[in-house]
């Protein structure tokens, strides 16, 4: 029954060894992604959202490791793959659109080769002509002039580089694409163009998508579901409508209220007092309690469990509770 999930992350813990000890960057993270579904992971910088993505790609930096948990991709547990297996699986099954496309493209290699090398790696029998045809096809798909396939990255503007990056991510027809801040640092209008492009491609190609960003509005444009992360934990997860209009967790509430809206009263957005915790020594209990306006005594000592609010909407808070889960 659950096999329709293309991705299932179970109890994922990712830790980093650093000089001062162990950073628990991601702890007890659970989420699922159905075929063709898109999920957004939102949170402040350092909340563990990028680390989660890197764990799914098997690309944690040298001092990082998966301490616990499993990641199922199309029903197969991928967490224990060796490097060779990971290499065959990356880009072919899951590809990535990186933040800041200006630096994510190799400056001395033609775009055609940068896209082509990935295609050839995952289809060793393909001919040169077929690769070229595929690159042209991809350029058309993302709205780039096909005459430019032999250009170098510096000959594209910022917005076009991001399109190149998207074309590259699509090269091997992956089942899942992870976008890490795919529109950050772009101008508003270009941002809107890229969002339209992504939505258009999602309709055409029916692929799963994970969008990682600090900007909730991008998620609301693209995604079906949202996971809100704070200090390594997912504090609330649910459909986009549920999260924005029926949020439960106080952190989600703060996040949404910090968003200025030009419809309605001129109301200064609220800021969240305090700062995110030091990752080396997170607070006991609920990690958000020092900054929470609703916290009660139990928050200081006990990590809250998820409760359900129906329609795959869960939150972990002692104060705002739904139906308890059996697990």
């Amino acid at each position: 029954m659950e096999d329709r999930n293309i991705l299932k992350v179970e109890d994922l813990n990712v830790f980093f060894k650093v000089n001062g000890g162990i950073v628990r960057a991601v702890e007890n993270v659970n989420f699922q992604l159905k075929d063709g579904e898109s999920i957004g992971i939102v949170g402040e910088s350092g909340c563990g959202k990028t680390t989660t993505a890197l764990a799914i790609m098997g690309m944690l930096p040298g001092n990082g490791y998966v301490d616990n948990g499993r990641i199922f991709f199309e029903g197969e547990d991928i967490i224990n793959k060796d490097e060779k297996q990971w290499q065959r699986y990356r880009w072919n099954k899951i590809s990535m659109i990186f933040q800041g496309a200006m630096n994510s493209l190799n400056p001395v290699m033609k775009i055609r080769r940068q896209i082509g090398e990935a295609i050839r790696l995952h289809n060793p029998t393909i001919t040169k002509g077929e690769i070229n045809a595929r690159v042209v096809e991809l350029f058309k798909l993302v709205g780039l002039d096909e005459k430019r396939i032999n250009y170098y990255p510096h000959e594209f503007s910022g917005g076009m580089k991001q399109r190149v990056m998207i074309a590259m991510a699509l090269a091997c027809n992956p089942k899942l694409i992870i976008g890490d801040e795919p529109t950050t640092a772009l101008d508003l209008m270009i941002q809107a163009q890229i969002i339209d492009l992504i939505n258009d491609l999602r309709r055409k190609l029916n692929m799963g998508m994970i969008i990682i960003t600090h900007d909730l509005s991008i998620i609301s444009e693209i995604c079906d579901r949202v996971a809100v992360m704070y200090a390594g934990n997912i504090v609330e997860i649910g459909s986009i409508e549920d999260i924005i209009e029926n949020y439960k967790h106080p952190y989600t509430e703060k996040l949404i209220k910090a968003f200025p809206s030009i419809y309605g009263d001129k109301r200064m957005a609220e800021s969240i007092p305090g700062a995110p915790p030091n990752p080396l020594s997170p607070p006991k209990g609920c990690r958000f309690h020092p900054r929470c306006h609703k916290s009660i005594d139990i928050c200081k000592n006990v990590l809250p469990k998820y409760t359900s609010f129906g329609n795959r909407h869960f939150a972990a808070c002692h104060v705002v509770k739904g139906d308890s889960l059996n697990e």
């Binding site: 101008d187 209008m189 941002q191 809107a192 163009q193 339209d196 609301s220 800021s271």
Partner: protein
């Protein structure tokens, strides 16, 4: 009526030389110019906050710097408190520097990492009020830091910027401006580098300074929603020109220029019920080296007609305080 204006800008242009290359420069007489700011009028009243909104490459930052005489302007006239700029006069410049200041975008770059907080905040006094004793300086610094919300101020005096968070640094930057309480401040994207959670506090601090000291602001930003929140008037800039200017309410209601309309339609918005039709402009802003003839927006304008390619529309009054530069958007004449 005229004397309540702090800043008056008339037909201001700032051009930069773009080098075509050693030989081409020798041969060509007409140098290639980057027309960053291209004939802009703007005035700011006492105690008023005017936002200058535009995408990157619109010239909004150059405009702010030209007003503070940090970049040289090519044409146009500038007035401060009804007095024409007298930039060659050292005495005039000194008074001007005392009264017109700037808050910068990036608090990680705008504070010298080798200076202690006390030195950063007191530095303006070195140039402006030279005769203060050390005790007077210290008490002024403490007062400024406390105003900026860094309490207790004495804990911060002998720290270095790297010991503070981004929000705290921006508070230090504000304190260093507050200490000489200028009449007019250019704030260049003062919160865009900060985490969303601390932005509001910094903006509130700036508004508080306006309440207490009657400061006027030119608030430069790319964020329309923020501009709408803080300012009295908003000016929309595109390729070196103001295309629309009016009360902040034009954003939430009745804007005229198609560019403004497009910008508003793609505004970051999480209000899923009120999703309106987005007008996504095609292509990118043309290079300021090569500004299109006629209306500079016609290459991307959804309602452009033949006339737009030939004639540049002037900024015309459509309503009290509301001006727009478009041939065809007929609303509100």
């Amino acid at each position: 009526m005229n004397n309540d204006k702090v800043i008056e800008v008339n037909k201001l242009s700032v051009y930069f030389n773009a080098r075509a290359g050693f030989f081409k420069d020798l041969i060509r007489k007409d140098k290639i110019m980057v027309r960053a700011v291209d004939g802009v009028d703007l005035s700011i009243s006492k105690g008023e906050i005017v936002s200058l909104v535009g995408e990157s490459g619109s010239g909004k930052t150059t405009m702010g710097r030209a007003i503070l005489n940090l970049v040289h302007h090519n044409t146009g006239s500038l007035k401060f408190n009804d007095e024409a700029y007298d930039i060659k006069n050292k005495k005039w410049m000194k008074t001007f520097r005392k009264k017109a200041q700037m808050i910068f975008q990036d608090p990680y770059q705008s504070l010298n990492p080798k200076f202690m907080i006390a030195d950063i905040v007191s530095e303006p006094l070195k140039f402006i009020e030279k005769k203060l004793s050390e005790e007077e300086i210290e008490s002024k610094v403490v007062e400024a830091l406390e105003f900026a919300g860094l309490k207790p101020a004495r804990d911060y005096l002998y720290r270095y910027p790297y010991e503070l968070s981004g929000g705290q640094r921006q508070r230090v930057a504000i304190a260093s401006v507050f200490i000489i309480s200028p009449q007019f401040i250019v704030a260049d994207e003062p919160v865009s580098m900060l985490d969303a959670s601390v932005r509001a506090d910094i903006v509130k601090l700036m508004l508080q300074m306006k309440e207490e000291k009657g400061t006027s602001y030119l608030f430069i930003t790319h964020d329309l929603a923020l501009a709408w929140l803080v300012s009295d008037r908003i000016a929309i800039m595109y390729l070196g020109k103001i295309v629309e200017i009016g009360p902040a309410e034009i954003i939430s209601g009745n804007c005229i220029h198609p560019y403004t309309q497009a910008l508003i339609s793609v505004l970051s918005n999480i209000d899923i019920k009120k999703k309106r039709k987005r007008i996504v402009l095609k292509g990118e802003t043309p290079s300021p080296m090569n500004i299109p003839k006629g209306c500079r927006f016609h290459t991307r304008c959804p309602i452009a007609k033949e006339k737009c390619e030939k004639e540049e529309p002037p900024l015309i009054k459509r309503q009290k305080n509301h001006f727009a530069a478009c041939h065809f958007s007929k609303r509100l004449i």
